[in-house]
Symmetry: C2
Subunit: 198 residues, 2 copies
DNA sequence: CTGTCAATACCGACCGGTTGGTATGTTGTC
DNA sequence: GACAACATACCAACCGGTCGGTATTGACAG
């Protein structure tokens, strides 16, 4: 008889584990979630989890990669087009807001635990994130020096007013809410770019 | 012999415990910090901690109150003056940025753990925070309807671009850094209010 | 088409260590 | 000698992680 689950299961076991971990980390935080809770929600056992993942931390790292990997690739595509600062900044805001909203649970889990993760495994990922921010700040700085953007606020403040929204997006954005992510992105871009109008 | 610490200690034991907990929670997060770590850093034992606090959670609640209590009182004072929206919003931004910066460690601990705390003890505090946000949004909405502020972005987005900065302030603000909190507040207010200029 | 065999997928009992919390001192002060 | 202010010793529960085992699968041989 047996079970032949590999074919019959609704989704791959690995994916179920990751999905369960994502929900729980987003709800309770990483440290407050036990491996037992994860496997219970995923419908597997600890043996199964440790068959696919080397450690509990690997689950977080995987989410981290999912969130930042796509965003970083999109950033390079947008900047690579070489268009004017206003278009570029608007495209970046749109991508990060819509992209974050599309992975809102992963973002919630990651953004909360980001500061606490300070071992060598995550330094590469944090360096990626820093590069993202530096790119945006550099873009704003260059445009301000060229007189395209007004120097009403420093590049640091402008970039943080953007990232601050995406970092806290999970506390108020609802996928089934009245305002779609694209609308949020547009309003934020309008607000920031009006403020920066030379 | 004995120790007669009550008088000789550099600071009250209760304050030392709270300060140690604040630092550790800000660095590692609440759940990842053990009571043993707190008492070690504070230079006391667990018996001492549980003499002053009923539970580990009480430490977080105390920080929560310290952060939001002052802010909420200041909000009422500012709004109570009945001045024009531009002055009022600028005063609010200045107070929340400078106030958050002044308690940056407490803010880091609280802002990270806020979403995960969902028991009945914290609902009152979360209600206070929601009232704060609602006040700011209402202020913006009224001013936009009166034509004083431009409707370039909805009150929700504007308020979140402000709170997003303060929520993530702990990730980049340094008390001994080159930019004082008051300057950050002014730039943020300039950016937002320029965007809202009718 | 069937038998063999190694690899993969997964289970569930178990491990040493740590957790938040407590019960019981001990000590100085009024 | 009552009481606040702590220290010390200790507990049951739970933690992340391991391990020996088993069911299932796929490749290959004949």
């Amino acid at each position: 008889m047996g079970r032949s689950r590999t074919v019959a299961g609704v989704a791959g076991v690995r994916e179920r584990i990751l999905a369960a971990a994502t929900e729980l980390f987003a709800e309770q935080g990483y440290a407050a979630t036990s491996v037992q809770q994860v496997v219970d929600r995923a419908g597997v056992t600890k043996g199964g989890l440790y068959h696919y993942f080397g450690a509990k931390e690997d689950l977080l790292i995987e989410m981290y990669r999912a969130v930042f990997g796509e965003r970083l690739a999109a950033l390079d595509r947008i900047v690579g087009q070489g268009r004017d600062p206003e278009w570029t900044l608007r495209a970046i805001i749109d991508d990060i807001v819509v992209g974050t909203a599309a992975m809102i649970k992963e973002s919630a889990a990651v953004s909360r635990e980001l500061a606490a993760m300070d071992n060598e495994r995550t330094q590469r990922l944090q360096a990626d994130w820093r590069r993202y921010q530096e790119t945006v700040r550099g873009l704003i700085r260059d445009a301000q020096e060229a007189g395209v953007f007004a120097a009403v606020a420093s590049p640091e403040i402008v970039s943080w007013s953007i990232f601050g929204v995406t970092n806290s997006l999970h506390t108020w954005y609802r996928p089934d809410g009245p305002k779609p992510a694209a609308a949020i992105a547009e309003e934020l871009a309008d607000l920031v770019l009006t403020g920066l109008r030379a």
